[in-house]
Subunit: 494 residues, 2 copies
């Protein structure tokens, strides 16, 4: 049986004893227990769902000190960030508790009969939603709390009435087991079946692929690399009965900075941007990986000055260790790859064994559009400046990016043909368009949209963060001429 060893992110030393990968039988058992739990959980009301989600939030918080210390050792993300992330995770659980309690999963459209012949006349109809069934949830590397065992996918699936089988991420396996260990007590205290939330670990066809292929699984949720997500999506589509697969994959998050704002606020924006690029060692889905500058002849000097300011500000950043040795190797290889593809380095210092150094490079728009290697996400503290010669060329750059979680547009405060065109160009390729600040930091709120065209999402109509994340796990059903006893249940689980 496959042994799994976790490591301390800062030193590379083993963390704890090796763990055992799940056997195929254990994966099947988790999926089948989830299917069993679905019978009662899909029929649970909002109060029951809210109580579970709040119980899980409280369990996380009551173990905060130990959990954060362990997470810091395993991921090197630091106690400030990790305490904040635990707060966010508890907030998410409670927000979806409120959403369930408010009855959102049970909302319905009443469409009374209209007498007469079709197409105008029709029978009495009610449109409501039903939970999909057990969800296979694949944890992310970079948010050991918020996109992991009890993260947003789990919270939204449970609120929708779906059990969850979590595939733990190998980058924080000990923490995942520690968090998973909190769950049975909460389930038991609320009289809920153990199979409602379970966790599996291991890799490859025996574990992750077996899970997404299991007939009892009704949907997949994934946050991670484009390659890994595409492979799992192909498995979800290749099942005898394909299922929805919600993957949040790669994103380069372009920042388009107009010259006028750089002329007045260049230094401040450079410092903010450098902080965003290096934050969390660049290990964010929304890390700004492309910076587009527009070099009309009169603006070239302004842009050059901004490049210099950003170079200085980013050189002063000291990223912490990356999450895993594998991610560090991928980052170092990506820097070599991007340089070989023609990106001219501006900041490129050798990192040490513990932590990488930031990487900043520059290309012109023509090269960026021509070479797909320059448009790939480089996960880590890096960004690529793209020099366009006009607004039209900047729009071509955005179109070449094609799909992104975010686009940020600095200096669009005044309406003009240019700002209108850039706002539209940004909206055409992104799920979120920012007009101030930096894309890192994704609010858990009603209007959030975390997902855009491929490769940022496999299902760009959905979001994995914010209130609408719930919608991924509910399917509309229309009841036609329903009997009185069923209509009396409107607004309740069915």
């Amino acid at each position: 049986m496959q042994k799994l060893q976790s490591f301390k992110a800062r030193t590379g030393e083993p963390l704890g004893a090796p763990l055992m990968a799940c056997t195929p039988e254990q994966v099947d058992a988790a999926a089948e227990a989830a299917a069993q739990a679905f019978v009662s959980w899909s029929a649970s009301n909002g109060a029951t769902r809210a109580a579970l989600l709040r119980g899980l939030a409280a369990a996380l918080e009551s173990d905060r000190e130990d959990l954060v210390a362990l997470a810091d050792e395993e991921t090197a993300l630091g106690p400030v960030r990790l305490n904040g992330e635990l707060d966010r995770t508890a907030f998410q659980l409670r927000r979806f508790a409120d959403i369930a309690e408010r009855g959102v999963p049970f909302a319905f459209t009443d469409d009374p009969a209209v007498p007469g012949a079709p197409p105008v006349g029709h029978p009495a109809m009610v449109r409501q939603r039903v939970p999909l069934g057990p969800v296979a949830m694949f944890s992310a590397s970079n948010f050991p709390f918020a996109f992991s065992v009890l993260g947003g996918d789990t919270a939204s699936a449970l609120a929708a009435g779906c059990p969850v089988v979590v595939k733990a991420h190998s980058g924080h396996l000990v923490l995942s087991n520690r968090v998973a260990g909190l769950i049975p007590r909460v389930l038991k205290s609320q009289g809920l079946p153990a199979g409602l939330i379970s966790m599996i670990q291991g890799s490859g066809t025996d574990v992750g692929v077996r899970l997404i292929r299991h007939p009892a699984i009704a949907a997949g949720a994934f946050t991670g690399s484009t390659r890994g997500g595409a492979a799992l999506q192909a498995e979800a589509n290749g099942r005898p009965r394909p299922i929805p697969f919600y993957g949040e994959l790669g994103s380069t998050n372009p920042v388009v900075a107009l010259p006028a704002i750089l002329a007045t606020k260049g230094a401040e924006l450079a410092a903010t941007l450098a902080g965003s690029i290096a934050q969390g060692c660049g290990q964010f889905c929304t890390s700004p990986g492309v910076i587009v500058l527009i070099d009309s002849p009169q603006d070239k000097a302004t842009n050059d000055a901004f490049v210099q300011q950003l170079t200085t500000a980013l050189s002063a950043q000291n990223p912490h260790a990356m999450l895993t040795p594998g991610m560090r190797q991928a980052f170092d290889a990506g820097v070599v790859h991007m340089t070989a593809a023609g990106a001219h380095p501006l900041v490129k210092e050798a990192g040490n064994a513990e932590a990488p150094r930031p990487f900043l490079a520059q290309v012109n728009a023509v090269s960026f559009i021509a070479k797909s290697a320059l448009r790939e996400e480089l996960f880590g503290p890096s960004s690529l400046i793209v020099r366009a010669e006009s607004v039209a060329e900047a729009l071509d750059v955005l179109q070449a990016v094609g799909g992104s979680l975010t686009v940020t547009l600095w200096g669009a405060e005044t309406e003009s043909n240019d700002t209108r065109a850039l706002a539209r160009g940004a909206m055409n390729i992104a799920g979120r368009v920012l007009f101030a600040g930096v894309p890192t930091g994704v609010a858990v709120t009603a209007a959030q949209q975390h997902g855009g065209p491929w490769p940022s999402s496999t299902q760009p109509m959905t979001t994995s963060v914010g209130d609408a994340a719930l919608d991924r796990f509910l399917r509309p059903v229309c009841l036609q001429d329903a009997p009185a006893w069923l209509l009396a249940r409107q607004g309740q689980p069915c």
Copy 2:
């Protein structure tokens, strides 16, 4: 170049001169013209969209007599049905005109800034939707107006702000060309670009596959066979940039009839059901292809009597010709296939060259669950009675069906453990659950849901009929800290 010949459905004689299949260059030109039209159409307001949709409805109606006569010759569906379908098609166009005019595509969620640190505090956010881009629309065989050139997919895509490239169905090619011929005049009279709605024809990799692969195409919409839809979906997923693909594929639409209602209303229900099975020669997505009876010992005689009533009623039906010789061949082969798989024929008469005869057969639940060949959709005037021994076994039958546009439940007027379980079992596998009447006839209304788990839909969260069909062609975008000039456009196209 490939020549395309249409035929008169009743006689098999050629209808009109051969038409030319589109060249790959013509397919590309249609997609590129749609991309060009997207620039202005995506920025059009509700009134502009409504005017186009109403203009198209009026154009259809003003040519009603010729269109219906031609459609009848090409499809054999008969003038009553075809006049009704034209009414429905005009109704759909006007309904989506109203939806656009009411501002539904421009609806937004305002989420004002909350002061304070995350996770509670957040910047000002607005969640709205943007049209996806040009839609590749693959017409259905069985609704030459309502799911074809100016059908519901086209109406909902246009209302959403998306241009449409229609791939005509080979089963009514002359009619499709005739309808497409109405469009340029309407577009021109409203000052809209010709590329906003165009039609292509032909088959295989040069036409349909080339269209769904074209980089300018942002989504696919399809109504047809599971095999054809799955192949196009694989192409949509296999693109360098995968796109949403909305396929409405196969469905067997089980009817579960409880013994008590058969005891009192068996003859009436048998007549209604026979009419639904044979209606339109069974060429409906929602044709009832599976009838589940529950044989508790005391109910066996009632069920046997119903089977006899249905056999008699169906034998009395005289279906018209099928849409195409290929569909007729597939139906005849399907009858042989299903009989070979162990279905015991109850009505099985040889049809003549012009029209098939209805087919009714019977199996027990164990066989139905064991043999996938018995669960395949047999497109045409046919149904399979499945005899279950208990409610639990009937639920297993529904689970074996797995995904269906509809399930119909007769005799569930009173709440009991059985009716609750059956209602839940039906909702678990279907997009629409009916408690009276027959599944044929799909109202175009607010609560409609036409799409369920695979194979009835590739995207079971969406519907291809009803108001929510619009949602398929809009993607959420969150604007963060948007400038005043952009916020002033809230509720309008961006």
